[in-house]
């Protein structure tokens, strides 16, 4: 029984990582850049939830919608102001800019909200018990929502015109432009989707543990990035798989007292092993070098 509880917990942590990893991997696939400010968009989403809960509305669903909208606008704005002018610049310049944006967001949040953690109680759902299993309800909500979101996203990419354009841009930007695809528009949409997913991730994280500070997104961001690389950066199913894998490993590791303190190290160790055995990640393809 305990193993099932642990696995469910792991999958819910993992689906939160997957939400974030999808943002990293889609932006990488389309814009060929690592958006290291992505984790901090989660944190901004968290503060939007905080604002809503502290207001007269005090409704978690309204808070989630508010967070999603603000994060989408934020993601698009970051891309327009910070990354778009650097299109065609060296990857290192873009990477440093992304790290700069990350610190900018963290410091701004600290200036506005202070450095003391805030408590954001979204819903107190308690546990659900059946057949000897005791599962926190937030686990099921997180898992259920994530599955739906990932399904919708997969269908969107495969069957809509915009989704196909995203595949085309990620494979060959020049050829995509020759089809009449507005690449800048596709990049904007990608940032919007990734940031919306980050807002959901923030919601799930605060559902699990209500403490909010300006570094809320930092560690999960790095772990989700690791998950994206493990799954194969640029691959949407890879990000989902990598995220789930990380979450399950984390939950199991927490349950084993001897290795529990080293959980983070174990997760990054998996990254190293995967990169040694399969440098393109589990589901990643080797990119052909074009002449």
């Amino acid at each position: 029984m305990e193993i099932i509880e642990t696995l469910l917990n792991g999958m819910s942590i993992g689906s939160t990582y997957a939400m974030i990893a999808l943002g990293y991997t889609m932006v990488y696939g389309i814009a060929k850049m690592l958006n290291f400010a992505h984790g901090d968009v989660i944190m901004v989403g968290g503060y939007m939830l905080f604002i809503t809960m502290a207001s007269a509305l005090s409704n978690p669903i309204i808070g989630l919608i508010f967070a999603v909208v603000v994060c989408m606008i934020l993601g698009i704005t970051i891309e327009k102001i910070a990354y778009k002018p650097l299109r065609g610049a060296s990857p290192l310049a873009v990477l440093i800019t992304a790290i700069g944006v990350s610190y900018l967001l963290q410091s701004t949040a600290q200036m506005i909200f202070g450095s003391a953690p805030k408590m954001v109680i979204l819903l107190d759902l308690g546990n659900i018990e059946f057949g000897g299993l005791k599962v926190p309800v937030y686990t099921l909500i997180t898992l259920g929502c994530s599955v739906v979101i990932m399904l919708v996203l997969s269908l969107f990419v495969k069957y809509t015109k915009t989704g196909r354009a995203m595949i085309a841009v990620s494979e060959d930007k020049g050829a995509a432009q020759l089809m009449g695809i507005n690449v800048n528009g596709i990049i904007t949409i990608t940032f919007a989707i990734g940031s919306a997913l980050a807002a959901f991730a923030g919601f799930f994280m605060l559902l699990k543990s209500p403490s909010l500070s300006n570094t809320l997104g930092a560690m999960p961001g790095i772990k989700a990035f690791t998950a994206a690389v493990i799954g194969g950066i640029g691959s949407i199913p890879g990000a989902m798989l990598g995220g789930l894998l990380m979450g399950v490993v984390e939950a199991i590791s927490f349950k084993i007292p001897v290795i529990a303190p080293y959980t983070d190290a174990i997760e990054f160790l998996i990254l190293i092993v995967i990169l040694l055995v399969r440098p393109s990640g589990i589901l990643g393809r080797k990119r052909r070098e074009k002449v």
């Binding site: 494979e171 020049g174 432009q177 009449g180």
Partner: protein, 236 residues
């Protein structure tokens, strides 16, 4: 009036001056070829016209519109289409999905379906392989697919960049026959080729590009008789 008019086109890659003021025109209904050696600037010219590479100076007038500063997707929307060098079909999509991508700016109506059928008629191999992943096609089939994909946007001007590159002699002949056919059906063609003999034979007019500048121009026949062209591009 010319369908495409290129005036004084200058392109730089960093400090390297790749095009040094290229001027030429393509009239409606013509097949026009740019021939030139590797590195002469043929692909740069093609990509700059359609907005993939920015030009530093010069103007490009297409169908009465100044497209010099226009982004690629808007130029494509004006009825210009390009088969890029190296074909660049979408490797992970099927043959059919590639053709659909070619019609990205169009509605998927009955006319669209009829056009897909027409492409399958012109390229029977694509019909046989319509559900196959494009990355698994042979080079010749990928060239056919790239051409079919470019035609799906119903262009007035079709530009082809080295369509015969890397193909067997038999396939090369086939590709040139198809280009002639497409032109007969009313599409204006701008062709870039290293295979000067074959391309001059089907061209109304041609230009010779050398290190970023046009050095010679004339009808296809004139150029294939020219001593200079014979020596440099037709193997003496």
């Amino acid at each position: 009036m010319a369908l495409l008019e290129v005036k004084d086109l200058e392109v730089y890659y960093g400090v390297i001056n790749a095009l040094k003021g290229v001027s030429f025109e393509v009239n409606e209904g013509e097949i026009v070829t740019l021939i030139g050696a590797n590195g002469a600037g043929k692909t740069t010219t093609m990509q700059s016209i359609i907005g993939l590479i920015p030009a530093r100076h010069g103007t490009v007038i297409y169908d009465g519109n100044d497209i010099s500063k226009m982004p690629c997707h808007k130029i494509v929307n004006l009825g210009m289409s390009q088969v890029p060098e190296g074909r660049r079909v979408f490797q992970e999509l099927t043959v059919y999905e590639n053709l659909v991508m070619g019609a990205y700016l169009r509605k998927q109506d009955n006319e669209f379906k009829a056009d897909i059928e027409r492409i399958y008629e012109r390229f029977p191999r694509l019909a046989e392989r319509k559900n196959q992943i494009a990355g698994t096609l042979s080079g010749g089939e990928q060239q056919m697919l790239a051409m079919g994909r470019a035609l799906m946007s119903k262009p007035k001007l079709l530009m082809l960049d080295e369509p015969s590159m890397g193909l067997s002699p038999l396939l090369v002949d086939q590709v040139f026959d198809i280009i002639k056919d497409i032109n007969k059906d009313g599409t204006t063609i701008l062709l870039v080729e290293q295979n000067a003999g074959k391309s001059l034979a089907i061209s109304d007019r041609a230009y010779v590009l050398e290190t970023g500048a046009i050095v010679l121009s004339g009808t296809g026949e004139e150029l294939s008789q020219s001593e200079k062209v014979k020596e440099a591009y037709l193997g003496g």
